[in-house]
Subunit: 383 residues, 2 copies
C-alpha cells in the first residue's frame, strides 16, 4: 500500500494546490493521499480566513482521502517545529510511504545535503551561523548565510527560497525521526505570490481578492469544489481579534510575556512599549519587528500570547481526524493498527494536551462571529 | 460662597441636562456649579459613547465652572456606591453647600423620610426585605417592596421611580457621611426616555439616534455647545470590546469570576455556561439575567471582569481634575485649602489607587480605535 502525505494550510485550496496534489499522486503512484492540515492559526501566526473544517472540506473535495489536523502548538510555530509537527504525524501513522511538497527545485540532492548539514552542522556552518547572529540577522537569515558558507555546491539563491527552506525542514525532520518516508518533490509553477506572472495565484492573493470583494470571480484561481465551500463559508476577518489581543497584552507583565516561546531578549519590553501607541495587531508588529525579529516571528509570538502557552511536547501526541473519503476505510483500518491517536470527537476527548488546540479553535470562532461552542461541534466530514 | 454640585454622566449633555443645570443655579443661587462626572464606563456597566474628556468639555461649555472625574470603581457600580462616590467627592471638597438632582417629585420630605429609613431600617422594613429577597426579587425590587411596607405615607409609585431611588441614595450618602450639603431637587420634565411625549430626549435616545445616523439633526435635543463637541468626537461604538470581553471571560475560572464584586451565588457558573453560546456582550447579558440578577447588574459585573477588581475603598480618595472655567480660580483655591486630592496629570501621578481608573480609560480608548496612551495624554480643559 502506497500512501502519500502532504502538509499544508489550504487557506483556501487553490489551483496551485490541486496541481501539486495531482503531480504528487502521479509521482508516487499512491493508493491514498493524506493531508496534515495546519490549525486555526497559520504558521506565520495569523488567524486563518477559513475554518479548519472548511479547509478540510476543500482538501477532501479536491481529492484527498484523509485529512488530519495538526495541533496548534506545532502549526503556529517556526518552520522547523511546523515541519516536525507535520512529519511527526505522517511518521507516527505508521503507513505513510511518501511525502510530497512543492519546491523551487526538484534537485533532491541539494535538499538532502542541506538537511544533513543542518541535522549535523560542521565547523564552517557553526562559525558562520554564530557570526551572522552576532551581526544582528534573524535566525532564518543567519542560517541561510551559514548554509551558503558550508554548502558551496548548492545554488545560493535556493538557500533563501521559502519552499526550499521548508522542504529542507521536512527532510531534517525525517532524519531526526529516523523516518523512511520517501520525499516526492513537485516543482512550483511560476510565482505563487502574483497573479500577473502567469503562475498560480497564491493563497494570500486569493484572500486579498476575497477581502476586497467576497463575490470575486475565482474561476481559474480556485477549483470549482473549493469555490463551493468558499461561497458558503463563515470567515474570520483579519483583525477580528485585534482588540482582544491588545487588551490581553495590556494585562500581561513583561515577565509573563517572556514565557511565550518566541519572546526573549527584551522583545517583551518592546511589545509593552509599542502597545500603548498602536490601534491594531498589524501596527504592533510593524512597530516591534527588527532585522533580528522579523514580522512572522512577532506575529506568532502575539498569537501565542493571546492563546496561551503550555509545556511544549517535542512531537505531536495526536492528530484531529477531520474527515475522510469512503474509499479510505482500509487506510483507516491500517492506521488504527499502529495505534497513533486520531481524535474525532474533541468534546468527548479527555486528553489534556488538546486543550490549547481547542482554545485556539474557540478563539477562531469568536473572531468569526460564531459562538465558541461551534469549535466543539464539528462533525467529521465524509465524502 | 455658595457652591452647588451635580453628579452626572452626560453621555451626551442634552437639553434636559441644561434645563436642570439652570434650575439648580436659580434654586441655590450658587456662585459656582461643580460637576462630578462618571468615568469611561457607565453606572449601568456599558462603555460610554463619548470620552470622559468630551463629556467634561460639554459640561464646561454648557455652564459648569469645575468638572471632576469620579473614580471608575464608584461610577461603574450599583446606585448606592455610585451615590457615595459622587457625594463622597462633593463632601470632601469642603466647599460644596448644595447638591442638585433631578427627581420625579420635589417632595423633599418623601425623599428624606425614605433615606432615613434606609439609613436606619425599622423592623417592618427588615422583615419585608428579607421576604422579598427570599421570593427571588432583585435587590432593587425587594428594597422597593420593603420601603412600601414601611413608608405608607410615601406614594408607592415614587418608591420605584428611578430618579427617586437615586435621589434617596444621595440623601442616604449625606446621612452616612454626616454631610451638611443641602439638597436642591429639580422636577424632571416629561419622560426622558421618549422623544415623542413632549419631554426632553434622554441620553440613551440621543445615543440611539447618533448610532443610527451620526449626522442626525440634534437641534432642540442637544444644546449647540454639546453639538460642537459631538460633531468632532471620536466615539466608542457599542460592542467595540465584545470580543475582548468574551476572550477574557474564556480565560477566567469560575473561582476568579466569583471574586468580581457583583458576582456571587452561582452567577459565575451561569456566565461560564452561556459564554459558549453567545457572540456578543448583549447576548450574554440576555442569557444570564434573571429576576434576581437584572441586566444592569450583569452588565456591571461583566465590565468589572474585563477591567479587573481591586480591594475596594469605601470612599473616593481622589477625583480627576478634568477641567475648569477661568472664573473658577477662587473656587479652586478654596478647594486646595481643604486638601482633597485633585489629579490633573494622571501620567505623572504615583497613586496606586488610580491604576484601575486609568485601565478603564485605556480600554475605553482601545474600543474607540485610539491608542491606549491617549488615556494618559488628556489635557486639562480650561474655558
Amino acid at each position: 500500500m502506497k500512501v502519500c502525505g502532504i502538509i499544508a494550510e489550504y487557506d483556501p485550496f487553490h489551483e496551485g494546490h490541486l496541481h501539486q496534489l495531482r503531480r504528487a499522486r502521479e509521482l508516487t503512484q499512491a493508493d491514498y493521499m493524506v493531508c496534515v492540515l495546519g490549525s486555526a492559526f497559520s504558521q506565520r501566526g495569523d488567524a486563518m480566513m477559513f475554518s479548519t473544517q472548511d479547509r478540510a472540506r476543500m482538501a477532501l473535495a479536491n481529492g484527498f482521502d484523509l485529512v488530519l489536523g495538526m495541533p496548534y502548538s506545532f502549526s503556529c510555530a517556526q518552520a522547523n517545529r511546523f515541519a516536525v509537527g507535520g512529519v511527526g504525524i505522517l511518521h507516527q501513522l505508521g503507513v505513510v510511504t511518501h511525502q510530497s511538497f512543492g519546491c523551487e527545485t526538484t534537485d533532491l540532492k541539494a535538499l538532502s545535503d542541506t538537511a544533513r548539514m543542518l541535522h549535523a552542522p560542521d565547523a564552517v556552518f557553526k562559525h558562520a551561523l554564530k557570526q551572522a547572529l552576532e551581526d544582528g540577522h534573524s535566525f532564518a537569515k543567519a542560517q541561510g548565510l551559514a548554509m551558503a558558507a558550508s554548502l558551496p555546491q548548492v545554488d545560493e539563491a535556493l538557500l533563501s527560497a521559502p519552499n526550499f527552506i521548508l522542504g529542507v525542514s521536512y527532510l531534517r525532520a525525517h532524519l531526526e525521526l529516523g523516518s523512511t518516508i520517501t520525499p516526492a518533490v513537485v516543482l512550483r509553477q511560476g510565482d505563487y505570490h502574483s497573479r500577473d506572472t502567469g503562475g498560480f495565484a497564491s493563497a494570500s492573493a486569493v484572500r486579498a481578492m476575497l477581502q476586497k470583494n467576497p463575490e470575486a470571480d475565482l474561476n481559474g484561481i480556485c477549483p470549482q469544489k473549493s469555490q463551493q465551500v468558499i461561497r458558503q463559508a463563515v470567515i474570520h476577518p483579519p483583525g477580528a481579534l485585534d482588540k482582544a489581543l491588545l487588551a490581553r497584552l495590556r494585562d500581561m507583565s513583561p515577565e509573563t510575556l517572556r514565557q511565550v516561546p518566541e519572546i526573549s531578549e527584551g522583545l517583551e519590553d518592546r511589545i509593552k512599549k509599542a502597545l500603548r501607541e498602536v490601534t491594531s495587531r498589524a501596527d504592533l508588529i510593524n512597530q516591534v519587528k527588527t532585522r533580528r525579529y522579523p514580522a512572522a516571528r512577532i506575529s506568532r509570538a502575539l498569537t501565542q500570547a493571546l492563546i496561551g502557552t503550555q509545556p511544549r511536547e517535542s512531537l505531536p501526541s495526536y492528530a484531529r481526524l477531520l474527515g475522510f473519503s469512503n474509499r479510505a476505510k482500509p487506510l483507516l483500518a491500517a492506521i488504527t493498527q499502529h495505534g497513533f491517536p486520531l481524535v474525532d470527537r474533541p468534546a468527548q476527548e479527555r486528553r489534556v494536551d488538546m486543550r490549547l488546540d481547542m482554545k485556539a479553535e474557540e478563539l477562531w470562532y469568536l473572531g468569526s462571529g460564531q459562538p465558541m461552542k461551534t469549535a466543539w461541534q464539528q462533525e467529521m466530514i465524509r465524502l
